[in-house]
């Protein structure tokens, strides 16, 4: 009787949902729904447009950050040129849509081709130089690009920045809250791509090059090929981020793409956790969203505006000291400790209820 009582009738649909909930795409789909609902609530007036704006910019930086995780977390290469590449993306859209009036898709393809060229250049450099020096060289490249944005006035309109008054796809003029869905679409695509790459021979090859170059070579992994590939993926994603930025904000200027942004993206990934897509999300939230969404609402930070930067700095120090694996580790540890605690109290409760040292039936 008791045995038959234990058996529950299994519903097939529930089983399917359960098996899907263990799939890595499950979280991504839920995130997609949430992101779409943010805009829908924004349209209904439940969420303020300014909040939606901040979140949209967060998604853009997350696309860039996802490329950067492959570089830093998997291939073990540090780059400080990200901001320059984002700038390239934004100016490509600005020039081709604003000045030439070309269709969006052509601008997009040209941007990606440019990204591939830039990525290959940096990738070749990375074969000779590693670590800090590679970071400095990429920083130099980024500064060159920023100078180009400043002084190539016929293309970039110089220091004043470049504004386009409307954004067109297939002859349709899209407003900001419609472009938002394009951002979400690209973010979800990159998330899926990164998850797939990590769980494939390519991702494993990247990790093996980071851990032990000689072992990787002995196992038949070409260091040149995979370093180039990671740099190309990272730059393509950075340029896509720039193009999305331009599509959403419709304005760009050279001072946006300074070293500060590169450092912010690096810090976001270090804080969040360099080996997880959710870590990237968390890191971008802490760096690009936490400040304006949470801290600016507290009175103390409203009066002392710069105090929020100090808090961010303290947070970075604390995370790097105590959680080198990123804040995402904190959640894993918390869930682990919670499980341990509940287990402990369950056993204590059982002892109290049923007495000690009772031999179990099974």
């Amino acid at each position: 009787m008791t045995k038959t009582m234990m058996i529950k009738h299994k519903n097939k649909l529930m089983q399917k949902i359960k098996s899907f909930s263990k799939h890595p795409f499950f979280g991504i789909f839920i995130a997609a729904f949430l992101m779409v609902f943010v805009q829908i609530f924004g349209n209904l007036g439940i969420i303020k447009p300014s909040v939606v704006d901040i979140l949209a910019n967060m998604w853009i930086y997350m696309v860039v950050g996802l490329g950067f995780t492959l570089l830093l977390g998997y291939a073990g290469l540090a780059s400080l040129g990200t901001a320059g590449f984002i700038g390239v993306g934004s100016y490509v859209i600005a020039y081709f849509l604003g000045t030439l009036g070309a269709p969006y898709f052509i601008a997009f393809i040209i941007g990606i081709l440019l990204a591939i060229v830039l990525g290959t250049v940096v990738g070749f450099i990375s074969l000779r130089i590693e670590g800090m020096y590679l970071a400095i060289i990429t920083l130099g490249l980024s500064e060159i690009l920023v100078e180009f944005f400043k002084f190539a006035t016929p293309i970039t309109k110089g220091l004043m920045g470049f504004q386009i008054d409307r954004f067109q796809i297939l002859g349709m003029v899209l407003r900001e809250n419609q472009v938002y869905y394009i951002l979400v679409f690209f973010l979800i695509l990159t998330m899926i791509a990164v998850v797939n790459i990590v769980d494939s021979p390519t991702g494993r090859a990247m990790l093996s090059i980071k851990n032990s170059t000689s072992a990787a070579q002995a196992m038949g992994i070409s260091v040149l090929k995979y370093r180039l590939l990671t740099f190309v993926i990272a730059t393509v994603l950075a340029v896509i981020g720039g193009m999305l930025y331009m599509s959403y904000n419709r304005s760009t200027s050279p001072d946006l793409w300074s070293i500060a942004l590169s450092l912010n993206i690096l810090v976001a990934i270090v804080i969040g956790g360099a080996k997880s897509i959710w870590g990237v999300g968390l890191g971008t939230f802490v760096i690009f969203g936490f400040d304006q969404l949470v801290l600016k609402r507290i009175e103390f930070f409203q009066t002392f505006g710069n105090a929020s930067y100090i808090l961010n700095g303290v947070l970075i120090i604390v995370v790097v000291m105590f959680y080198p694996g990123g804040l995402i580790r904190l959640f894993k540890d918390l869930s682990y400790h919670f499980k341990r605690l509940t287990h402990k109290y369950k056993t204590v409760w059982k002892e109290y209820r049923y007495g000690k040292d009772e031999p179990s039936h099974s």
Binding site: M1, K8, R204, M219, L229, K275
Partner: protein
């Protein structure tokens, strides 16, 4: 045609031959994977069916058994309340009687009689109530529908058992047909591929290419006057020896003799300054190793391990083995990006292969572990297991027993012997542990300061005065 063109063509043919062979072996191993998957699905289906049946039977059971228990429980509860009511009433009566006697001694008899009367009426009340309760529950207990359910239960059970058996039989039949179909399809594909292979081999033979380097059939690796210089320092000085097919070859020498440098030269980590290293590859062609790059050497069938364990610390043991099979993947980057069915099939095949190797070496328990924190001996064994992923012909072990205790090195020696026998490969090792070398090796070469001292069987080396001098110092 010019000789170089012929060489290029030959290399191209060799490459396509290895690809085809890989495809054929993949197809055959995929058959096993498919078989296992079908069996797993069948078991899952049967389990589901069983669960459904149990749920159905339980629904019948609950209609009878649970009602009985339910009735019993409530009748007992009502009787309990009745009893307590009875108890308190009796107590009340007794108390009134005692109070009356306490107030007036003379009224003792009348008080007793009224008490008895009231007690009698109470008993009658109690009995009627109890009868009513019994009636209430016995009526519903003898419900006919319950009886009907009780009767149908064994019949239904028998029917379901029969149904299940039939279901299992039909499933088995279906699966046999499915597996046969799969086998036929794979066989058909393989036949096509084999025809292609024969064609390619014929083409290759038609080239009539003879290798520059003459080498005995029994020799797998020949070093001919290998020379390696770091600036003014000569690490390897005109070293030459042969490694025969299927033997365990040991290279010994005092510290700084250049043993590891020889290994690095063979696997192209260092480009040698002079000499020829000829190797008989999987297609039985003699090639010069100097013409290959570091990451291409594994494709010829040469795998190496490292002096200090070089595992990938951020990957699990199973993934570490899959790293070694990197060259066996035929899907490209877009396959990896989209997780195409071809890529997933390859991944399944290679995972099955890795699991087989792990079980062979007794490491299956560690498959999901991360290397960090595992004992050193186990890590060395894992590195050995990693070399086996690509079906190598020559395994190069760089000090396999360094840092191991006696027990671990014994186990290592056993596994090396096992690998040599079961996986049909030649083993070439450097070792400082003389006991292990003398026990394991068929041939030993002793070197000192990059120069060959002696080569021969372990006994010959032990009795060689030159080697003794190099190790123990001359007079």
């Amino acid at each position: 045609m010019a000789k170089t063109n012929l060489l290029i063509l030959n290399r191209h043919y060799n490459h396509s031959i290895t690809l085809l062979e890989q495809k054929i072996s993949n197809n055959t191993s995929y058959h096993d994977v498919i078989k296992k998957q079908i069996e797993k699905k069948r078991i899952q289906k049967i389990e589901d069916m069983k669960l459904n049946h149990q749920a159905y039977l339980f629904s019948i059971e609950s209609k009878t058994l649970s009602k009985e228990a339910y009735l019993e429980f409530f009748s007992q509860k009502e009787i309990e309340t009745l009893n307590t009511w009875d108890y308190w009433k009796k107590r009340e009566l007794a108390q009134t009687k005692h109070r009356m006697i306490f107030n007036d001694e003379s009224k003792k008899d009348s008080a007793e009689s009224t008490y008895q009367k009231k007690l009698e009426t109470l008993r009658i009340k109690y009995d009627t109530k109890k009868v009513r309760i019994d009636q209430k529950y016995t009526i519903s207990l003898s419900n006919e529908t319950i009886k009907a359910y009780l009767n149908t239960y064994p019949i239904e059970k028998a029917r379901l058992e029969k149904e299940l058996n039939d279901y299992i039989e039909t499933l088995n039949k279906q699966d046999v047909i499915k597996i046969e179909q799969q086998y036929k399809e794979i066989h058909r594909k393989n036949e096509l591929l084999e025809a292609k292979l024969v064609l390619l081999k014929a083409k290759k033979n038609a080239l009539g290419l003879t290798a520059d380097i003459e080498m005995d059939d029994q020799v797998i690796l020949r070093l001919d006057k290998l020379r390696m210089q770091f600036g003014g320092l000569v690490a390897v000085d005109d070293l030459s020896f042969d490694v025969k097919k299927g033997e365990i070859f040991g290279l010994i020498g005092p510290n700084g003799a250049g043993k590891t440098t020889v290994f690095n030269c063979i696997t192209q980590f260092y480009k040698s300054n002079g000499g020829v290293m000829s190797y008989r590859d999987k297609n039985n062609d003699v090639v010069n190793l100097n013409h290959y790059q570091v990451h291409d050497v594994i494709k010829l069938g040469i795998v190496r391990t490292f002096q200090n364990v070089e595992l990938i610390w951020e990957l699990s043991i199973l993934d570490n083995l899959l790293i070694a099979s990197h060259t066996l993947y035929q899907s490209n980057f877009f396959g990896h990006l989209m997780h195409t069915s071809k890529f997933r099939r390859e991944e399944e095949i290679l995972k099955a292969k890795a699991l087989k190797i792990l079980t062979d070496l007794g490491l299956l328990a560690y498959k999901d572990f991360y290397p960090l924190g595992l004992p050193y001996g186990t890590l060395k064994l894992i590195e050995l297991a990693r070399t086996l992923m690509t079906n190598p012909k020559l395994i190069i072990l760089d000090e396999p027993a360094a840092g191991l205790n006696d027990l671990e090195s014994d186990k290592l020696a056993q596994t090396i012997k096992k690998i040599q026998k079961e996986y049909d490969c030649t083993i070439f090792l450097v070792e400082h542990d003389m006991g292990l070398v003398m026990k394991l090796c068929d041939t030993i070469c002793a070197i000192s300061f990059g120069k060959k001292l002696a080569i021969g069987t372990p006994k010959e080396i032990q009795s060689n005065p030159v080697v003794q001098e190099a190790y123990l110092g001359g007079e």
